[in-house]
Amino acid sequence: MTKYILTRTLRSLLTVAIVFVTVFMLLRLMPLSGYFPQEILKETDEATRMTYLRNQGLLDHPFVQLWRFVKNLFQGDLGRSLTVYPKVPIITLLKEKIPVTAAFGFASMVIGIVLGISLGLVMVRFKNNWGDRLGTFFILIVRAVPSIIYLFFIQVWISKWFDLPLVFYKDRPESWVLPTICLSLGSIAYYALWLRRFMVDEENKDYVKFAMVKGLPKRVVWKKHVFKNAVIPLVIYLPSDLLFIISGSLVIESLYAIPGTGGLLTTAIKSQDNNLVQVIVLMYAVLSVIGVFLGDLLVAFVDPRIKLTEGE
């Protein structure tokens, strides 16, 4: 087991390094004019721009830049944002933004799991009945209608009907309701959909039928066998989901003016904010590797048939 964890960690480190260096180098392929917003480009001449780029160290050889970044990283310095928030230390940005997004993410994840699983259970319990149909209808809406349409609808109309604020305010708890609901809709549908499917699959299995015939109470069969087995395929993504609550949603955060991390990566890439992009990519890469690893551990833990072994 120790050996497994060790090799796995080493491999993960390698992955992270590959991801990071690739992204780092790709960023250096971008055209130099991209470092300047339109407004600045029009106001400056070529020479002033080169001066600026030189000051920022962007004209150095990519490997020199890479080495500088790594060196600073080990001294705890993540650098400063380049174009999106000029000169603002990235660590400050992350400290400001992650808690907001994480709070929403965590709340919506809990809601998503609780409601999603309840809905899934209701749908299985009342299979081919009104509960099932209603649930299916909900899932269909969420998955089929382009999200921007129902998100818009929720923001404008639901807020009017229930007299809720249109945007998020830190000091008004009622303004947290709509964004949290919006964020959790997707995962409710996801968990309900797959739980129902997996449980129906499981329910038809011979060992379940046998357990029923044997005379086990239905409740026990469902709890001990059907539900447990159906949850296993869902569990594997749980740690990743939990870690990635800090990544946020671009559309919802922008609709409700939530100052989170939602659009940060995309904006940073589009604005060629190299410093910001590489830090975020590094962070996400580390998190996702950890997430996958924890997912595998968790599955091995809940499903005795699956064992973590190294290359046999």
């Binding site: 480009l41 029009k42 400056t44 002033t48 928030y85 940005l93």
Partner: protein, 660 residues
Amino acid sequence: MKRIAALVLVLALMFSFTACQNGDKNVNANQTTEPVATKTPEEISNAAQEITDAKEYKSVYRTSFNKSYASFNYFSTAYSTVRSIVTNCIDGLVEPDIYGVYVPSLAESWTANDDETVWTFKIRQGIKWVDHTGADTGMEVTAQDFVDGIRYIGDPLNDAYSLRVVRNLIEGLYDYYWTLDDIDSGEVADKTREEVLASFDNTVGVKAIDEYTVEYTLTSSAPYFLSLIESSMLLLPIEYDYAIELGEDFGVDNEHMLYCGAYYISAFERDKAITLTKNPLYWDKNNVTVETVEYQMIPEGTTSLEMFKRGELDDATVEAEEYLSMKGTEWEGKLIPTERSLSTNYLWLDFSGANPEFNTFVQSENFRKALQYSLNREAIASLRDPVDPQRVLRATINAEGAIYDGNGVDYTDYAPLKAVKDTDYNKPELARQYMEAAVAELCDENGNIKGIEAGKVDYLPVGTFEVDAKLPVTVIYVGTDDENEIVMAQLMKTMVEEAIGTDLIDFQIVCFSGWTYGTVADPYNYDIYFDSLSTGYADPSGILTRMTTDGAENVGGYDVPEYDALIDQALNAATFEERLEKFAEAEAYLCNGAYVIPFISSLRGYYMTNCMPFTSPLTLYGNSKFKGALVMDKPLTYSEYQTLDAAYEIARTDALKNAD
């Protein structure tokens, strides 16, 4: 039948607007003159006074912003959004009053020498820098702080970007900056950085004569210097030691800067909210009426409109389409047309591009004129203002109502530009004629364009295109992927192809995402490019000197020596009037030759507000100030606005007269 009737009606309306527009050069004259025309000036003023007196005012102003404030470092950032906050927090030497006349701010008085190259300002005494809690820092705003402002931007390591105008205007600053830069890049080794830094006080034309007197020496006559102080953040004061000590942290948030304006930033939540609180130590605090300004970030425009309707905001912009949907609702009477925009939208024609077909044709004036006359500008303007598109039109490069000579004559009313303004450019027949002339000139009888060969046009990253060296002429329009701009481009395509005919022109649209200037316009990766420029201060040179053959803004890559000569004459003119005359001639030359095609202003839409209009400084070139603003608890109605506007115009005419 109904449609024709409606069309006739609209056309009739348009003409009536045109008629009004020509009668009065005021932007809103067509709407304001009619209801109050029969009243005397006293009656109007009294009516306006009644409205003002009847209202109740609040001390909090709640507004929104849609793009995050990246930084508050007013020297190193070119994001114009930052200026809207900074203008309220850091005062300049002078500021405009509510009529746009420059009045003392941090400077109590000022003088200029005869040719307006040396400007001396007497600084008000006892002005304190305050911190983000409004507490006195013990530091005083002195003449040295203005000198240090220039010192700060003169050092390339401080990354001041948009210093083109100021760097060229202040004596010695250009050389100072580039010497430092050469040292940094290792090109110059015989001087050290310290030596050059120490030479600042002797070489650069800004001096603290005594503690409260600052003197600027300029490289050329600048009668517009006061307007430059209003528009440019680079002429603001700075507490040098404080800023240098903070280094890169200066201005990253509200805690890392000092304030000397009407407000200080008391709270700052990045990408979310900003609170401005009245500065208790402000020199003019009796005229600061609003105690607190609360900004919140609302990225979606429709949301801020909805919030205004629910009373959660004190202002909201209303786009053209939203305007139509609000007709017949309770809000209709509260929609006020946006007053002015100094920014002009125009089309660049690429004289240096890689498309042989377009490149051959664009050299022909006939072809350029064909393009110029093929646009139905009113239809394009209808996208911006469906009710009164006429007010959006603009045929000149510099905006009207922005630059006046000593006699109060608008720059765009100088004869050469007046002619441009009065030309009707919506003439599809004429466009076809011009095009046929160009074709006769440049093609053989089989429709082959002379002197070029078929091939592949490489405009990457925009794209690659095949051209066959035959008619129709392939024209590649490159725009951004902004939804509104795409719609406008598609409309233009239809117009050009219908006016000129698809047998002669093939108009292709490519949209490119991101910051197009650096990837499309600058490297000539286009045939036609849509852009805008705005009049930055009260002098046409701001735009025009950049559009010369080797100017920074000559994105079309044209070569027009006649224009350059006229600009030279203008810069060397003896009087301001002559200068404007020459500039007008040059601008008209560019427009008449269709080297660039200005067609509309950036004016768009309407707004709703709880703010009493004409109570805060008229900042033509800078951003609006909250100083003096009166905030009501109910939205202003359009009829109130009209009365107030009429009264304001009367008062303003008087004020401008007195100022001279």
